[in-house]
Structures are given as structure tokens and as C-alpha cells.
């Protein structure tokens, strides 16, 4: 039997993968808190999310640097090379997800302490959050298990988030002409858009799963050429 070698390298790569994907757990926490802050117009909680984004950014920088070092020192090829390439992509997506949570949280003070909130629209955004959180965890599991079908299923789940985002838009249009109410609705649309992007980033991670497994990169859905 051939002897297995480069054990330390493999362990390091495994650790870096776990660390990179662990960023999705941080995003999951961030989005949960973001939704809570939106629901209760909780400015303090929003500040916690903004401050905690440093942890996601720090994870990004740390793992990114370690992956570059592995590339430089270990000359990875084949599956390892695809994995490292995919992890670099995923790290960027995860960092963006964290930033989108920050974007939403920065909007909360703008919507005012006694904002003319429309409960239906707030509920739509909370629903988007409810749909997005399992999407993030599914992207993580699909990556860990190298499960292309599970990754592909993210598109179906993302469609639900997209639909809610569109509902938000239609609702904003129907909220009437009162300037304060319109301003609040516009602000909430930005928040909805940010959550929708988080879900898109989860799909991007799913596409990287397919790349690691098959060696072919294809967008699950091509925005410029929708099927």
C-alpha cells in the first residue's frame, strides 16, 4: 500500500477550510442580530453587529493570508488547488455578507426612533432574514460535504428571498405619498436589498462547491442570460 505523506499540509488545509467556513457561522449570528435590530429598531444591537464585523473581516484576512502562504510554499495542485481557489472566493463572499449586515444596521438610526413603520413591510424583511439564515447554513454544509445537489438547491431557496424582496418593492410603492413614510420605505428597501445580496452570496458559495467537486465553474443562474 502506498504510504500517505504530507500529513501536516493536509491538516493545515483542513483547518483553514474549517476556519473559512466558520465565517458563515459568524454571518449567521450577525444576520440574526440584524433582524432583531430591524424588528425592534434596536440601535444598540445594530452597533454590536457593526463592531462584530471586525471578527468576520479578521477571519477573512487571517485565512486569506494562510491560504496564500500555502500556495507559495506547498504548490498545491488538482483538488487541493481547486479547494484553495474556492476558499478564496468563499472568503470574499463571506466578508461581503458581513458587510451587508453592517449596511442594514447602519440604516437603523436613519429610520428614526419613532419611525412610521409599516408592520407588513417589517415582517417581509424579517421573513427574508428567516429564509436567508438556513440558506447560509446550507451553503456551509454543502461545502463541507462536497454535495453539489445540496449546493444547487440553494438557487431554489434563493428564489424565495428574491420574491420577498420584490414584494417589499411593491409594498413600498403602495405605501402612499407621505414623505416620512416614503423615506422610511426607501430605507427599508435598501435593507431588503442587502439581505437579498446575502442570499446571493450564499449561492455564490454553492457554485464554488460545484467547482471543487467537478472542476468546472458554471454560474448556477446567469443574471445576464436568465433561463
Amino acid at each position: 500500500m502506498p504510504e500517505t505523506v504530507r500529513v501536516h499540509y493536509q491538516e493545515e488545509l483542513d483547518t483553514l477550510e474549517a476556519s473559512a467556513l466558520g465565517g458563515l457561522d459568524l454571518v449567521n449570528i450577525a444576520i440574526g442580530r440584524t433582524m432583531e435590530a430591524v424588528e425592534h429598531q434596536d440601535v444598540e444591537l445594530a452597533q454590536v453587529v457593526i463592531a462584530d464585523d471586525d471578527r468576520i473581516d479578521g477571519r477573512y484576512l487571517e485565512v486569506h493570508q494562510s491560504l496564500i502562504t500555502l500556495l507559495a510554499t506547498q504548490s498545491p495542485v488538482a483538488t487541493d488547488l481547486r479547494l484553495i481557489s474556492a476558499l478564496l472566493h468563499c472568503l470574499k463572499s463571506i466578508e461581503r455578507m458581513g458587510d451587508q449586515c453592517v449596511n442594514v444596521c447602519k440604516l437603523i438610526p436613519l429610520s428614526g426612533t419613532e419611525a412610521p413603520a409599516d408592520p407588513e413591510m417589517v415582517q417581509l424583511i424579517l421573513n427574508m432574514g428567516e429564509h436567508t439564515r438556513p440558506l447560509i447554513m446550507q451553503a456551509k454544509r454543502a461545502f463541507e460535504e462536497r454535495d453539489v445537489e445540496m449546493a444547487r438547491d440553494l438557487v431554489r431557496r434563493d428564489d424565495a428571498v428574491d420574491n420577498l424582496n420584490r414584494e417589499c418593492f411593491h409594498l413600498a410603492l403602495a405605501l402612499g405619498d407621505d414623505p416620512d413614510r416614503r423615506e422610511w420605505a426607501m430605507t427599508m428597501l435598501l435593507a431588503a436589498r442587502a439581505i437579498e445580496r446575502v442570499a446571493d452570496n450564499a449561492v455564490d458559495i454553492g457554485e464554488q462547491v460545484a467547482f471543487v467537486v467537478t472542476g468546472l465553474f458554471r454560474e448556477f443562474e446567469d443574471a445576464s442570460h436568465p433561463s
Binding site: 502506498p2 495542485v77 487541493d80 472542476g215 448556477f220 433561463s227
Partner: protein, 282 residues
């Protein structure tokens, strides 16, 4: 969803990994080649095609038969009395082992560069002029020597000391001298058996650059233990490994995978290739 059709992106020629299959001219066609020493198989079941003006790399663990296979390609194994080659080996469509084929003529057309630089104990000039002289050339030797030394990217380093002994050159220069000596007789194919294993990284880089230059004129087959070298210089890579019989007493080399180099190093189709190029099996 994963689109069934590949996206319509035109890949610029310089980014294409190799010429289209249909346009590929073959230098060698190996069909079920087996090499035996004293009746014992060293390699067997080797079928592959080697393209013209390509660098073809052979990689694999020690003892898998890479060098044996390489030596088949210019009948170097004929020099070993107990060696026997079975199967069909076509060179430009003709049987290389046919009864009417002159092995000396074969080795003129298919030159070889060895692991350790092996200049003759002569001057730099005489090393390069050796082959043409043997072939009866008397006129214009200076031009032949200069052209060969330029072709081997050595001219500027030695032009002022052509009469010096070749042993005074560095290892990397000696190896390039051997390449110059090889190309001085205008071969069609250059076989290289671990040509950089005794060289430092700078000399290795020079030889690798040279291979990429030389493939415009010659076809090159290289055996290397350095996988990154195969990845850097070759168009196609063949991975061989040792196979054991049921008793685990008899072993021979077998071609596991042969594909475009980019494919071998990014997405090989065989798990054994993956493990080897990743350096995860010893």
C-alpha cells in the same frame, strides 16, 4: 442551475492549453508497448500518442518505467542485450523497430539528453562539432556550432572561449552544451531524462525556458521527478506508476493517465494521478 452548454466565451489562442486534437500531428504512436529485461516486464500495456512540436512529460514514482519507456523511443534499449520491446512503436507512421531501420540513424533523428551532463573531454567547440563531423561534415562547421550554441542559449556565455575545455563550464552550462551537441545534428525529437535534476534553480529555469523555445523546432519528451517542472514546461503529461501482481512479487510500470498538462494538474480523472501530483502518496 449548472448550464448544460459551455458559456460562449472565446478563449484567446495564447490561453488555450494545446492545439485542437484534429490538428495535432503525431511523432510517436505507441501501441501496447511492453519492455522486458531478461524476460521480466519493466513496463507493459503502454498506448499513447506523442505530438509534434509539443513537450510531453513523463512523471511517476521511481521504478515505474519512465526512463525505460523514454529509451524505447530512440532504441537505446537495443544496447542492453537482455532488453526486448514488444508491441508497436510508430515514428511518423513507420515501425521504429522494423527490420530495415538503422538504430544509428534513429538516434541521429531522436537525440537524447541525460540526467548528468556528459560533455566529452574536448573543447566546447569540438563537443558541438562532434556529431556533424561524425556525419561527414567538413565545411561550415563554425556556423553549425554557433547556430547550435545559440539554439541552446549558450552562445553569449562561451563565444569567447570556444577552445576551452568543456569541463570548465558550470553544471547548467554543461547541460546546455549537451543540448547544443544534440541539436547540432538537426534531430527531429529530443528526449530528456531528468535533465535538470543535477542543476540549481537558475540553471533549471534556463533549461526550462530553452525547452519552450526548442519545441518550435523539435518535439521534446522529458522524464522528470519534478512535478512543477512538468506543469511548467509540458503540453501533455503522462503519469506512470508501478503495478503489482496478485502475489506482490512481480511489478511493472503502467500508464495510468495521459492528458493535457493543465487537466492533469487541475482536475485529473484518476484518483492515483491526483494522489501522486498532490504529493500525498510516497
Amino acid at each position: 442551475m449548472l448550464t448544460e452548454q459551455a458559456p460562449k466565451i472565446e478563449v484567446r489562442p495564447e490561453f488555450q492549453s494545446s492545439a485542437p486534437e484534429a490538428a495535432r500531428e503525431k511523432v510517436f504512436e505507441l501501441r501496447d508497448i511492453e519492455v522486458l529485461y531478461s524476460g521480466v516486464s519493466a513496463v507493459k500495456g503502454i498506448s499513447m500518442e506523442i505530438g509534434r512540436n509539443e513537450v510531453t512529460a513523463m512523471i511517476g514514482p521511481s521504478g515505474c518505467g519512465k526512463s525505460t519507456l523514454l529509451r524505447c523511443l530512440n532504441r537505446m534499449n537495443d544496447l542492453i542485450p537482455t532488453a526486448e520491446v514488444k508491441g508497436e512503436l510508430l515514428y511518423h507512421g513507420e515501425d521504429l523497430y522494423g527490420s530495415g531501420v538503422d538504430p544509428v540513424q534513429v538516434r541521429k533523428l531522436i537525440g537524447m539528453v541525460f540526467q548528468k551532463p556528459n560533455p566529452f573531454p574536448k573543447s566546447i567547440y569540438d563537443n558541438v562539432a562532434f556529431g556533424p563531423r561524425i556525419l561527414g561534415r567538413k565545411e561550415g562547421l563554425d556556423e553549425v556550432v554557433e547556430k547550435a550554441l545559440r539554439g541552446a542559449a549558450l552562445w553569449h556565455e562561451v563565444k569567447d572561449r570556444l577552445k576551452d575545455n568543456a569541463f570548465g563550464l558550470s553544471g547548467g552550462q554543461q547541460q546546455r552544451l549537451c543540448i547544443a551537441r544534440c541539436i547540432a545534428v538537426k534531430p527531429d525529437v529530443i528526449l530528456m531524462d531528468e535533465p535538470c535534476s543535477a542543476l540549481d534553480p537558475i540553471s533549471t529555469g534556463k533549461i526550462e525556458d530553452l525547452m519552450i523555445e526548442l519545441k518550435n523546432q523539435f518535439s521534446i519528451v522529458i522524464v522528470t521527478h519534478n512535478m512543477q517542472q512538468a506543469a511548467r514546461v509540458s503540453d501533455r503529461t503522462a503519469f506512470l506508476m508501478t503495478e503489482l501482481d496478485a502475489t506482490e512479487h512481480t511489478r511493472w510500470g503502467r500508464l495510468v493517465e495521459y492528458d493535457v498538462t493543465q487537466q492533469i494538474f487541475t482536475n485529473p480523472s484518476d484518483k492515483r494521478t491526483e494522489d501522486y501530483v498532490s504529493g500525498k502518496v510516497g
